[in-house]
Symmetry: C2
Subunit: 592 residues, 2 copies
């Protein structure tokens, strides 16, 4: 091929604004970019010309033919500048700027485009409302922090792809116009003009298609897939989000874990962080007991302890009634939390009450002894055992919940999060990954006499648990697992049912008859008895992962064009009304 | 990281079915895969075990503990086989099979899943209707040809990404829930539950967002983007298709061409074909004159010739009337086409009449002279000049159209395609790339007194042509270009307007007032005067490109889960009716 592939040199520039240094001195170059900052020093004009790659200082001397144009150039004017690279005198070199050794003595300046005054300053610290930022997203993305987020998101997607291709995964595009299966969240639907009265649905995930790809023998599939959920939005939700979706044949949970751990290692290596593995893994039941959450933040070791044994003969009605009703008594220690005021304690009590607890027992340990409004209900041996179990030291506080395990666990889990937030204990590591395994397969459907899946209707029971499907469905453990990072659920996956009989049995427990199974899940069940291999996979939230890496609380900061919490795009003004003609073609009418 | 990253070894296999050879002899291995072919040779069972990577022969000897299971395994049963790799005796080695040197002496066979008899044979040559193939797509994709298409599609997407990342492009995901802009094709729309009566649209392309990314300073964007068009479907159309979409700042047409040529070089290098560049380029006006099509198949040199000069004084009314009405007389030669019968000639005449021509003049050249029903209307000097111009030789035929250029060109273009199809001239090259440049910017809107864009409302006029916007809008040439490969339009792009005044002037010619411009294109025009850089780009149809590479006429063969021509997915049975509850939440009612 005789064509020269350009690097970043184009018809309008020989170099970018980020690459020139002392080695280029004496060369005549052409740069194109934005007028970032302009200063007048003793009649000489200095323009910082900015592009995605950096900033270069341009000098226009009074009397030079370019001076007039340099004077005209206002903030954000787009310029093309030709000139000689010259070394800045030693004292003027700027060590904080990659191009700080040089400047361009402009011999030609062209205004490629003017700019009206911007509606807000691009400076990082300017206080601009998110509404304004979203309306002028193209300006917001010019800010170095946002541009860096976009580039990092892009580069890391290629790190993920290179890693998976290295393991012989294939990226296969699954349809976005799919069939509505009203499980889980609400579907976005798309009316079909060719089939009046019928609708496509935008996929909540490629789940069924990726399983079908395993039936088709594709062996290892992945996709950076766009998923859609018509939910009430929150700061970490968007109507469309991106997922690293993968599925593998002939694997068990551990195979999938190793692939994901290697991916995380590659991703964090790109940003200079070494991640070690295999990641710790815990049973769902253990993690709920110890941390009161299925996504605990393990940067902190703080644990919940069961003290049912200590209080088994307690005369304190709060404890004895809970234990008599096959509940539990569990406690968590707040290090140096004895300084919490009565009002603090009331706030913490409200926190657990909001999660269904009847109250919260708390004790401060001060001057070598416990103090508490409920101290009188506890015996000395009980208090001594409690102190031992929690290794209570001077200045600590203890919080006790007595209730059904299903209430005590999330209450103490929320309390744990609150204690971490208030007490700010030292982080034991920067990135705490955790596999939470073996979630229950089924739970009671609150709206029917049936069971419903806890995560995914296609998850297989844990081998050995199948027998309980007939006798005790609520206690069947599953091959479902979550990947947690720093208290955030990054991903969720499972080994799937590859037996039609097992899948139909589970659908039966969910109350679906054969016809309903066919209608909702026909594509899957029909393929299970035509040579379906054992398979499993995971979906990892890409927006959340990049949010964590970029250190932002809002995934809107890592999505180029996000929606507001009401689902609007303030820049393009979507959604909008459509023509009556369009509605008519779709055989639709809008109602009140 | 102490985790071992697996290659393709998993809990259920040590190797794949495609990798074992003589060097593994003596090793005990475990394979998992599908029962492809089973044969009984003198009581010994031979199973060809298949996975994505290949086929390995498994041997079960009578009397061995695995024999019974091997007997049970029917076609497409999923098996796990453990056994020793042994060399096949020299005469039994199969040189046509990568694993043909060895076989596995099975010591353990587990049926991982049974299979019902398949609804059709997977053998490549089995005649299965496309409807059945689409209904059981997971089986269709098990066929080696289809699996190979899917893998190649996947791998080439990574070739494209690696190439573009190498040039510092960033892949940035643009929204799929966007605003409806009823230009061009019909939008698919998505009702917004949160905003009753309003709709999102699925994007026909990321055009506006990618331009906005240039305004945001992202410099070089690309995306393998999903595009949606609610059109009448044909064999090469799908309601959703994938496009290699890219946009660059500070570039001219040639910069973009070099990037695309390098990409094509990388893509074809992956399949072992060397592509040379720069690609030939032609003016739109020339290509219409010479080939009568804006996407000519240049594997063949056959050209249309203008003979208006030859016939300027013709007494033949067909020619003289066309020329008097500022039309043209053009001809094309069919090599060895003098064998065409009168019926053939009638068919060719019908072909051009269907495209608006009044008729077709044809002449056979036989025994050193022309013969034709209209020979009497042509003089000897005219015929001699015609013979010269077209280099007519014994046995050739000549076809002449006389009409307005806008009619004659496409008629002779269609005739050229038909002649190539009938005469099968030798291909001069395997891959004929062509840039067609400088399309007219505007054409008359057939439904209004206004002008409309020919390709894209954001295309810039060719530098120097701007003045004609006021005086002769229909003849303004543009920076619009198409990439053509073997007669297929692979891609289309342009350098865009980066001046708000110019963009608004063009919208004005299209009949939009300020309010309409704001409503339809506000996102673009509002950003043009806040520091928009010169920019341009292209979108390349990925399905078509892969279709050409895989040598299939139907893009359905390179899409994992395509729709039928009525927009249905026969496997998942989409689209479908949705619940009344869902409709009510969306404030919609279905009408007749």
């Amino acid at each position: 091929m005789t064509t020269t592939i350009p690097s970043k040199s184009t018809a309008l520039r020989t170099h970018t604004c980020g690459e020139l240094n002392a080695s280029h001195a004496g060369q005549t170059v052409t740069l194109s970019g934005w007028t970032d900052v302009k200063r007048n020093h003793g009649g000489v004009l200095f323009i910082n010309l900015r592009d995605l790659y950096g900033v270069t200082q341009v000098v226009a001397n009074p009397g030079s033919p370019v001076f007039k144009t340099a004077e005209e150039a206002k903030s954000e004017y787009v310029l093309r500048v030709t000139g000689k690279v010259s070394l800045r005198p030693g004292a003027n070199a700027n060590k904080n700027m990659p191009t700080g050794e040089i400047e361009i003595e402009a011999s030609e300046i062209t205004i490629l485009n003017a700019s009206q005054p911007l509606p807000f300053e691009l400076g990082e610290h300017a206080g601009v409302s998110e509404e304004t930022r979203l309306k002028y997203r193209f300006l917001d993305l010019r800010r170095p922090r946002m541009a860096k987020n976009m580039v990092l998101r892009s580069r890391l997607s290629q790190v993920v792809r290179n890693y998976l291709y290295g393991l012989d995964f294939n990226e296969i595009e699954t349809p976005l116009l799919t069939r509505s299966t009203p499980e889980g969240a609400r579907d976005f639907v798309v009316p079909s003009r060719n089939n009046p009265g019928e609708f496509y649905a935008l996929p909540q995930s490629p789940q069924q298609f990726k399983q079908v790809l395993m039936m088709s023998g594709m062996d290892r599939y992945f996709q950076l897939a766009r998923n859609f959920r018509d939910e009430e939005l929150r700061s970490d939700r968007q109507p469309e989000h991106t997922q690293i979706d993968l599925e593998m044949s002939f694997v068990d949970e551990q195979d999938i874990a190793r692939v994901v751990e290697g991916m995380m290692k590659a991703v964090f290596a790109y940003i200079g962080e070494e991640i070690s593995g295999p990641f710790p893994e815990m049973e769902y039941s253990d993690v709920m007991l110890k941390y009161g959450s299925d996504k605990p933040d393990l940067r902190y070791s703080l644990e919940i302890k069961d003290c049912s044994e200590i209080f088994k003969a307690s005369g304190f009605k709060v404890f004895s009634e809970a234990l008599a009703g096959s509940g539990v008594v569990r406690a968590i220690k707040g290090e140096k939390a004895a300084v919490f005021s009565r009002k603090d304690m009331d706030n913490l009590t409200d926190l657990v009450k909001a999660r269904g607890a009847k109250g919260l027992v708390w004790l401060r340990f001060k001057d070598g002894k416990f103090e508490s409004p409920t101290l009188k209900f506890m015996t000395e041996p009980e208090l001594a055992a409690l102190k031992d179990l929690l290794a209570v030291a001077e200045g600590d506080a203890v919080f006790i919940a007595a209730d059904k395990a299903a209430v005590a666990a999330p209450c103490l889990g929320a309390l744990r999060t609150e204690l971490i937030s208030r007490l700010k204990p030292a982080q034991e590591k920067k990135r705490a990954f955790l596999w939470v395994r073996h979630f229950p397969l089924l739970e009671k459907d609150p709206e029917s006499p049936n069971w419903t899946f806890t995560h995914n209707p296609f998850t297989a029971p844990l081998p050995g648990e199948e027998g309980k499907l007939d006798t005790d469905p609520g206690n069947v453990l599953s091959c479902q697992y979550d990947l947690v990072l720093n208290g955030v659920e990054l991903g969720s996956g499972s080994v799937r049912n590859h037996s039609r009989a097992m899948q139909e049995k589970i659908f039966g427990l969910m109350g679906y008859d054969k016809e309903q199974v066919q209608r909702r899940f026909g594509m899957i069940v029909n393929s299970l008895d035509l040579g379906a291999p054992p398979h499993g996979g995971i979906g990892i939230g890409y927006d959340r992962l990049i949010g964590l890496i970029c250190g932002t609380d809002s995934i809107r900061d890592v999505i180029a064009f996000p929606k507001t919490t009401s689902g609007a795009c303030l820049m393009s003004d979507a959604p909008s009304v459509i023509d009556d003609k369009q509605l008519k073609e779709l055989h639709l009418k809008i109602t009140d």
